[in-house]
Subunit: 397 residues, 3 copies
């Protein structure tokens, strides 16, 4: 059977696809696994009411995509191991119930519980006023809310592609538009794909300026990991050119930036900013592994596409969200004004696109983890340039 394409959501059509499941019984055989399936369902009741979920299961690993929440990844599972974290917000929240302006621009947190959600597209840092002075001295001030809008915009078109070439690949593509009159017009086309029977998924995103004027883009992948990858004695492994604490508080933890403690109630978050070392193909790889070295999660991405990396350590009490964030981005999650000054905001001409992608792999054997770790350490020829305090290039004063 050739490549099969199935439309899961299409706002422009009156044909509403039913909640449905596609698997091997549909006659599509994938060499990599017989147990694959793709299910689309709509959550009902509570703050999740109306949220669509696409469960993408390659037979060994599954991930639940949230088209209604900007194509974020809710959570995954690999050989029974959960991938994600336990946020105090227990279930996906419909964007209609998230007021980004609430709590002084921190309202985004009311819906934050995903394994991976995007920060962007027009802005992706903390709340604040972005003050821009143009060549004529005209000042424009824009209120920014935490981490931008894209994670709370529903995809209006979602489709599934099943390709039986090689091991076989399942891909779900969603289109999300962040547009508004007199504002930047950015379209995200996101494809989440996985090879049948594999231990990984790949996210391929393309953001296009669909407006008539140049538009700025900021993209950061807020990838959030809890147990069993995170735990007391877990280690973050990365090929590091430069690392600095985000702020004075984080500076106190710089000596153990790559080590994790167990949950501590009330412990304030720390964040570290990195420039990573890439291989000959401009690829960087980072790894989070547990103390025992038998549970690991690695992330691979292009440092050309995503030159900035943030490590978020939020090892609060379990009940408050014990989690760490591995966050490759086009920029660091500072106020957009600062990032623009540092030359880290992308400007897209009308019609221009910017592609970003990353790969997530789950490891459940010491061998795999040791291999990933040695690949990473091989790139670390010189010791990292480690700053004891925030540096001007990374952190606003």
């Amino acid at each position: 059977m050739p490549v099969q394409q199935i439309i899961l959501t299409d706002s422009d059509s009156d044909k509403v696809p039913d909640a449905n499941k596609v698997d091997a019984s549909s006659g599509m055989n994938l060499a990599g696994s017989k147990g694959w399936s793709v299910t689309k369902r709509t959550l009902r009741g509570g703050p999740s009411d109306g949220v669509d979920v696409v469960d993408l299961n390659n037979g060994e690993l599954s991930v639940s995509i949230l088209p209604t929440r900007g194509m974020g990844l809710w959570r995954g599972e690999y050989h029974g191991i959960p991938i994600g974290w336990n946020s105090p917000v227990a279930r996906p929240v419909h964007p209609a119930l998230v007021n980004l302006e609430a709590r002084g621009g921190l309202g985004w947190l009311a819906g934050f519980n995903e394994l991976m959600c995007r920060c962007g597209l027009s802005f992706n840092g903390p709340p604040g006023v972005d003050r821009v002075v143009d060549e004529s001295g005209n000042v424009t001030e824009t209120d920014l809310t935490l981490h931008g809008k894209i994670a709370n915009i529903p995809a209006h078109h979602v489709s599934l592609k099943i390709d039986d070439e090689g091991a076989g690949t399942l891909s779900v593509t969603g289109i999300v538009e962040e547009t508004m009159l007199f504002a930047p017009a950015l379209r995200l086309t996101s494809t989440v794909s996985t090879e049948a029977g594999s231990n990984g998924i790949t996210v391929n995103d393309v953001v296009t300026n669909v407006g008539g004027q140049p538009a700025e883009l900021q993209m950061l992948y807020h990838t959030n990991i809890g147990r069993p990858f995170l735990g007391e004695g877990s280690t973050f492994v990365a090929p590091i050119a430069e690392v600095a604490p985000r702020d004075a508080h984080s500076a106190k933890g710089i000596d153990s930036f790559d080590k994790y403690g167990g949950p501590v109630a009330g412990l304030p978050e720390e964040a570290f900013f990195f420039e990573l070392i890439s291989d000959g193909n401009e690829q960087a790889q980072v790894l989070l592994r547990n103390a025992e070295g038998d549970r690991g999660l690695s992330m691979r991405f292009s440092t050309r596409q995503l030159p900035c990396f943030t490590l978020w350590k939020n090892t609060q009490a379990e009940a408050d969200g014990y989690v760490t964030g591995l966050e490759p981005g086009t920029n660091l999650p500072n106020l957009k004004t600062f990032e623009r000054e540092q030359g880290r905001v992308i400007l897209l001409a009308p019609g221009e696109s910017y592609a970003t992608s990353f790969e997530l792999r789950v490891h459940d054997t010491p061998e795999e983890i040791a291999q990933a770790e040695s690949q990473i350490r091989a790139l670390q020829i010189l010791p990292p340039n480690r700053h004891e305090a925030p540096i001007e290039r990374f952190s606003p004063r």
Copy 2:
């Protein structure tokens, strides 16, 4: 038949319970009434679209519960007598259409029309900035919106219990979570129950701190009554230890705080704050009865659980919402900062719970009303300590 349990909503399950009705034809006989029924339905169209309603009917009295609006009580009916009021907001409003931040933090009013809605859980007073200084002198400022968030959070789990012991009891339990990363995490488990054939309902709430740090709790039951209980010549009867007007305007009405006039267009609201007298079981009872003494509504609650009581008199034109509020609470509905200073904010340790409950009874005979009134008046051994002006302990300057 033993106790029967039916799940009405479960966000975590893919099995969507259909709109459904349970009554005596299901084979469950309740001694108290043959006419009981429980119906779950979802409103469609307009601002109510997607709002779930559970109509709990004990054969004589019915009440419509709104799981989508934090387990509020929309309205009731007893022997054909309506229980509730006519708000300018005619129908239940889906929380997605209520912007709590709108109109300077008064957006809550856009959805306000219930017989009973909760104010809370993390804060329950007027909009304003809650300024907290910790032991180290660090200042935290939090923007509060009117009456808090709980009335606009949908319950993610709702179930019905039918118990044929005695007269038979119908109970609907809903679970609502007010949580967010870096914020208090409070879970409300609310059970609304009624005995078959009776004239009353009971609300039993338990709020649990599901977070990892101590969390503050404020709870107030905004119970709103219009005709026929409210009308010209209606009387509020309560066992009063102390009463004071909320503000200078209300002070002008202190002489007739317990009497109601007919609707007057443009009349500003009045509010009175009370400390009530309880019986040997720490129970207080209040009554609103009409001039004729043949329509009454009484409320009973524990002064240990709910030590504060507010009477809200809003006898505007019918079209603007002719209504009075009987409002037992853990505190008075002042800015949280003031209530904290007065020692009226509850602090829950991680995992700790606080239970509150109240009973509402409808009376449609002079005998019943006279009986309730005499019970209340029996507790009033000494005359109330009545203040002509706002007092420092109850009202911020």
Copy 3:
């Protein structure tokens, strides 16, 4: 067959009308056309999820009404010619996803893409603080958001009437309530009707003060037209008593206020304020026609009901929304405070109503366009009083 009435939406009823279509096969014959139909459907997926659309098709002209968006008109079509414009917001947005408070009160723009949406009912101008001082010197300040609330409130009751008298008329009536405790209570009853086989539609609105106190009303029809009516060389034709630019920037374009250029990326919007000349029946007519004179759209309304007219010229790049607005209103779209000072805010007594209506006609022959143009020009006996700069009566300083 007599007049037929069909309920399309009724929030108060448990009977949910299914997505449905009515046409000549229902046995209702309309003399004007056999090809008429009325279809109700609900959009699914993306930001449009849950938005109801009523497609009103008279056999020659169709228009899509959006009950969920305050009875706005999404778009139309006449003989294959599209009526409307291409906003950067591509599809109808559910009001639950529009935060009017966002972006400094400009959040309304996140849902703005209709052929016609109403600005109002309580306020309809730009964001800002409406400061009112009453007779006693008391100051009330109200935060206003862009263009008011009505375009983002769902109609709770929608019905269809089919009348076979004459050519036959199709009418869709929706009821929308803008109410809130302690705020104005205004009800809009809007009827969109069209004669079978005709080239026009009529919008008949009645706004009623359903509150108990006097309430202010502002209504403006933001009617937005793009290609093929708008294009390089298009002309706006109107019988003009007085015209002035809104602001200093628009003043630069006063010499060609009635002419359009092609799209120019980044071109700032211009707006012109008018007092129009009406005929003996107090009717004014305006026309937008293309350069070739074979595509035209005319609007007719009462200058008694709608004494103010605004022309919005926003000839940005196509991708940014190349569009012009023909906007009859009870007032000019300035801050409400200014309009009140100028005596242009309507005050409705309790129970009082105010009716407004307009007719939209599409012309696709040079003859029709020439006829409309000559009707309009016949009223222009004296030359317009054209101001080169903003005037005090129309524009705040």
